[in-house]
């Protein structure tokens, strides 16, 4: 039996903007921590959503996450990436230049370097994640990563730096980062999508790029926010027939119930071909996560998603088993 998702040491969660990456990253971290692992979950772009997904909106306002990890639940540590702080930590640990402490704010110098040398921001980000993996402070590191558009740049940063910088400390320090990223038993990318057209396009494109351009393994695909599966094709045609016979002016409530059901069917049908394309393009582990309704927010959603992920991704299974109704 191949080790499953939760046996990796570094999971990078990405997907098109708006598909629920943060919730999925929080759910993976939550599940791993609940099953006894020491987990670090890191929000790479500081939007504050991660803490909301792990607790609730109130906590976000009162005490936002920082670069220094904080234990938000037993065994579950959360941090937010700060490339400048990461560079500073790196310089302190590696260069032992006596005046680094005296430079104080590196922000201007860092902004300059980060803007001038593409990949600097990315390398200190991915470097920090890899460092936490290498030092084994945690059993699992989960990254709530940037969207599909930026993730390739992030994962390719160590190689890009090698191509760009002939010598220098950064170059000599990229090798071990590359080793961690390229080891499929250690590192995996979790691509999150919805069953809508554009997220699926980006998901398939990224899976291709991971396979062809990057030696980083795609670990699983999570299809998030599936519409309720309360209707099947046979029902739909019966409902359509019935709707044609019901007079909306004499039976308005009945007509509306049928119209609502047909709207759900139309929405599901519009999405079905995109889900089919995804299933044709990806034969690996897949989790289908339905939309969580009834107004839960924050942690309640995360826990519901975590349960689905645990059920669908914890044991290796034939992909056909994972394909439920849609």
């Amino acid at each position: 039996m191949t080790p499953d998702l939760f046996d990796r040491r570094l999971l990078i969660v990405t997907g098109k903007g708006g598909v629920g990456k943060t919730t999925v990253a929080a759910a993976i971290a939550w599940h791993a921590a609940s099953s006894g692992k020491r987990v670090l979950v890191c929000e790479l772009d500081a939007k504050g959503d991660l803490l909301g997904a792990l607790t609730g909106a109130d906590a976000v306002r009162s005490r936002p996450l920082a670069f220094e990890p904080r234990e938000v639940h037993p065994r579950l540590h959360a941090m937010v990436m700060d490339p400048e702080a990461s560079l500073k930590e790196y310089l302190k640990l590696n260069l032992r230049i006596p005046f680094v402490g005296r430079i104080g704010s590196l922000s201007k110098a860092f902004d300059f370097l980060a803007n001038a040398a593409p990949g600097v921001r990315e390398i200190v980000t991915i470097g920090k994640l890899a460092y936490e993996v290498r030092e084994r402070h945690y059993d699992l590191v989960v990254a709530d990563a940037p969207s599909t558009g930026h993730i390739v740049g992030l994962l390719r940063a160590p190689e890009a730096i090698n191509e760009l910088v002939g010598v220098g400390l950064i170059r000599s320090q990229t090798r071990w980062i590359i080793d961690i990223l390229h080891d499929a038993a250690t590192t995996g990318v979790v691509v999150t999508t919805t069953s809508e057209e554009l997220p699926v396009n980006e998901c398939i494109e990224l899976l291709g790029r991971l396979r062809n351009e990057l030696a980083v393994a795609a670990e699983a695909v999570v299809v998030n926010r599936l519409l309720p599966q309360s209707i099947v094709a046979a029902d739909a045609s019966a409902i359509t027939r019935l709707a044609g016979m019901v007079d909306a002016s004499s039976q308005p409530a009945k007509a509306k119930v049928l119209a609502g059901a047909l709207l759900l069917d139309a929405l599901s049908s519009a999405r079905a071909p995109h889900l089919d394309r995804l299933l044709a393009a990806w034969k690996g582990p897949l989790a289908l996560v339905p939309t969580v309704t009834h107004r839960p927010t924050g942690l309640a959603v995360t826990r519901a998603v975590a349960q689905h992920l645990a059920e669908e991704l914890s044991t290796s299974r034939e992909p056909s088993d994972a394909r439920g109704p849609r």
């Binding site: 903007g17 005046f99 040398a117 057209e197 309360s230 019966a238 609502g260 059901a261 939309t291 927010t297």
Partner: protein, 393 residues
């Protein structure tokens, strides 16, 4: 009382669409441009950032291009045209360098500098910057009566507002002067570098990056600095353009909690900066029929196993109604979540446009026209303006 989008856009010639990723911002921008053309607003340009393949299909284009292209709109009033272009960051930077480099030699040296392409393509803020440059250029050209621009996805969706001034600051930074110092002094380059290498900044930079790389950066920035005055000048122009009353921001969101929170942040931030908010477009809103009290009561009764069956309908119909009721209630639950999210909006602008969720078919222009009519109902606008002319208030 809420006003509609046509009223908000009277006298407006620049519209910026912003919002979180995944809310349908690009499609909204395209539909808005199309609606403006159908409403007879003259030559309209839609400048998109990252359009979907199907949007090009819907507009009948092979693909989007950096070059502005006219799209055929059936029934467009005389004098109204829809133009579209996609912002190609790399091509736009090349155009910028060709236009603004002081001389052909500098231009060639910039375009062939190995760092130039890396920097302009990879550094995320470069997209923000070039979007604002392009807006400035097309506005200056005077070719369009209305420009609708989609904004780049970035860490913070309002980053593009600061991009021009940040770019200008960047080229004037004292750090840049530091790093280019040895090269500006010329002559004994190696000796100078050796001397400067004893300074902390160079020591750190050199150990991290290597001196060859440092030298490459310096050359690049020295070349770019020849265009510095232009950057500062245009940054000021863009700032002015964005703050005019005839430039409006349209915030696009869905009724999911996270995008809506971001939309609220945008609205507050736009207000704080003194920029003009045009409208909040709430995209893909579930329709009212899901909230009908009688329909909900009927559906609940149908799915309740303890309720008595209606003897007047057949068993087959009863079965079908039961299925329909389940589906109806599932969708109604999503609707409740949307209304809850909607109720959290603290300070909505005067113009809030709700675009109902319809299974959108963007096979051809028809689908986009349907969306355009939802955003900006043409007939209603005509009637209303005709009425307002008759009865001055």
């Amino acid at each position: 009382m809420s006003v509609d989008i046509a009223e908000v856009l009277v006298g407006v010639d620049v519209v910026l669409c912003c919002g979180a990723g995944g809310v349908g911002k690009t499609t909204t921008a395209a539909a808005l441009g199309l609606a403006a053309v159908r409403a007879g607003r003259g030559r309209v340009l839609v400048l998109t950032i990252d359009p979907a393949r199907r949007l090009a299909d819907a507009l009948g284009l092979e693909s989007f291009d950096n070059v502005e292209t006219v799209v055929g709109v059936p029934d467009a009033p005389a004098g109204s045209e829809l133009w579209v272009a996609m912002l190609d960051t790399s091509a736009s930077w090349d155009d910028l360098v060709r236009t603004h480099a002081p001389d052909p030699i500098t231009m060639e040296r910039i375009l062939s500098n190995q760092l130039y392409r890396n920097i302009t393509q990879r550094f995320v803020q470069s997209h923000d910057y070039i979007a604002m440059e392009r807006l400035h250029a097309v506005h200056q050209s005077g070719r369009y009566d209305l420009i609708v621009i989609d904004t780049p996805p970035s860490r913070n969706a309002l980053d593009f507002l600061d991009a021009p001034s940040r770019m200008a600051d960047f080229f004037s930074s004292s750090l840049l002067k530091w790093i280019t110092l040895p090269y500006r002094l010329g002559g004994e380059r190696v000796g100078r570098l050796g001397y400067l290498a004893s300074k902390p900044f160079y020591q750190v930079a050199d150990r991290i990056l290597g001196s060859q790389f440092l030298e490459d950066i310096a050359e690049f920035f020295l070349l770019f600095q020849t265009m510095y005055d232009g950057f500062v000048h245009r940054a000021t122009d863009v700032e002015r353009l964005l703050h005019r009353r005839s430039t409006r921001f349209i915030v696009v969101s869905s009724l999911e909690p996270a995008p809506l929170q971001e939309a609220e942040f945008f609205l507050a931030e736009l207000g704080r900066r003194g920029l003009s908010i045009g409208a909040l477009v709430l995209n893909r809103v579930l329709p009212d029929l899901l909230f009908d009290t009688d329909a909900r009561r009927l559906a609940s009764r149908l799915v309740d196993p303890s309720s008595a069956d209606d003897p007047n309908i057949s068993a087959a119909e009863r079965r079908t109604m039961k299925r329909a009721a389940t589906a109806f209630l599932d969708l109604a639950a999503l609707g409740d979540d949307e209304r809850t999210a909607r109720s959290t909006l603290a300070n909505p602008p005067n113009c809030v446009v709700e675009v109902p969720l319809v299974p959108l078919d963007l096979q051809d222009l028809g689908g986009l026209v349907a969306l355009a009519d939802l955003l900006w109902p043409v007939t209603k606008t005509v009637k209303r303006s005709a009425r307002s002319r008759k009865t001055p208030s």
